[in-house]
Symmetry: C2
Subunit: 308 residues, 2 copies
């Protein structure tokens, strides 16, 4: 097994966020950003996204400092995708105040030649037909995983089903799993989604942890208890980055008849670890100082507090 490079597609954005612990008016965000940052601790990451001409040199340099390949980061005339939201007092709910797609409205992802032979692809939450188009540009991709959201599930269902049928895994939160499957019970929901194509389904439950389902394996892990949650923005995407990053680092083949159950469970824990770190600071700030040694130490904490 050797580390496999990873192409990540999705949004790079500016976010305005308010939590009980403070606020930020304009900070680096977007699903692709969080996924790429989290995965960058495990493998070489190449991003495909679009930003406006207002995207700052500092933010570009920060991504590059994590050895993230920016050749696929297009710059278009106009403003970068902007999202703003506010969290409830217990941070279990958030209200979107504004979503300004800006240059993201015309995002037509085109992969640089240098990306096309990468063995791993993670399709962040964008229009399902665009996710499909990106995958078709790859040559011999070995693992495809992705994410989606309630909007595509509800209003673009046939398109979404065609798209995820080609994936090796889908990462989704519990309410989306229920919506996609039509089943309230999560075991049934997961089973229904496995019937849609992906051989592996990961269901995220926020602070309550995560679960991985395959026909031949099931794994569940409780959430990590933080001393303080500063900002949950990006935690789910950081989970996806940690999960996919670990698979890529270990060169795991999800398409094999019987995947390595132990390695899959470790990937879920690394996902949980990255999601937990993300919440410790505003936006992507925790990734400015985080080290692989800290990540591995928290992984060992998970092993310990779940050992029976």
């Amino acid at each position: 097994m050797k580390a496999m490079s990873l192409v990540v597609v999705g949004s790079v954005a500016y976010d305005a966020v308010e939590t009980p612990h403070g606020r930020a008016d304009r900070m680096l965000g977007g699903a692709c950003t969080y996924i790429a940052l989290a995965a960058s601790y495990f493998t070489r990451v190449r991003i495909v996204a679009v930003v406006g001409d207002d995207f700052s040199k500092e933010d570009r340099e920060f991504l590059a400092s994590r050895r993230i390949d920016l050749e696929g980061l297009q710059t278009a005339p106009g403003k970068t995708f902007f999202w703003s939201g506010v969290y409830s007092a217990d941070m279990n709910e958030r209200t979107t105040l504004a979503t300004e797609l800006n240059v993201f409205a015309d995002f037509n992802p085109t992969l640089p030649e240098s990306y096309r032979a990468a063995p791993c692809l993670f399709l962040g939450n964008i229009q399902p037909s665009l996710q499909r188009r990106v995958r078709s540009q790859m040559n011999g991709v070995r693992i495809t995983g992705g994410d989606t959201m309630n909007y595509w599930i509800r209003d673009h269902r046939p398109d979404l089903l065609e798209t995820i049928a080609e994936w090796d895994f889908l990462i989704i939160n519990d309410s989306e799993a229920r919506m996609l499957s039509g089943a309230e019970n999560l075991k049934r929901a997961a089973s229904a989604i496995l019937d849609m194509g992906p051989a592996t389904v990961v269901i995220k439950r926020g602070e309550y942890g995560a679960m991985l389902f395959r026909r031949d394996a099931y794994f569940a892990v409780p959430g990590y208890l933080l001393d303080e949650v500063f900002d949950p923005t990006g935690a789910g995407d950081s989970f996806a980055g940690g999960f996919m990053g670990y698979l890529a680092e270990r060169g795991l083949d999800l398409t094999s008849e019987r995947a390595d159950r132990r390695e899959l469970s470790r990937a879920v824990i690394y996902g949980s670890v990255m999601g937990s770190f993300c919440c410790e600071r505003f936006g992507v700030d925790r990734f400015r100082s985080l080290t692989r040694a800290e990540i591995d130490a928290r992984f060992r904490e998970f092993e310990e507090f779940t050992a029976c």
Copy 2:
């Protein structure tokens, strides 16, 4: 280590319950009932409770068939405690329709002489001063654990604090832990409760699992995914019975400077196992057929799906 007998105090009741899967107008219930039934798979259980003269011979015989000692089950003139409730469609919320205390209103627990040397005591959710009075009737009890609820936390706080200061462990759900501690963050909530006296705090999170906190140990387990939840009534009490029952069976001493972390985690899993079985049928019905072999098989399932 040898199995230690267990005294359980609390309510024995008749319940009327409606869930999306059906309804029962009058079935055996009450916290003491569920705790005792679950614990009866692990050790000899002796109950202290009161019922009215309407309490049926069949229900008494069912409890006795589980080798539960009924010498402390008083019968008073009048009706047995009655509770009725209805669950929401996703079963995450329930509405109490009626609470008729009946003979339970004048419950003054007195321990039979034969109970007083039992080494283990579980104080189900009753008035804190009554919980204290029961404990004072015991001779040299080695482990005391108990439960409480929002009403005592809010309106009888000094009394409750005096009571739990004497306990070795408290089992509580997450919202009660937040209310008792005043801390929203569960790690801080647990720490504040440890300061109140119990060296061990177990926080139940319903379908999301459970956590055990001590100064020297922390353990978390995800919930068991059932194919179908028929009726969650009594699941938390069954958890308590499984947890306490396992401690009693193994003769564990929670008062030692450093309790056995592995055995404590196994107790949390046995609690989770008993809570999960409870939900599979209406009321106490699952305990009519459940065997220790099934319990141990589900324990091994927990070991497998949480192993990393």
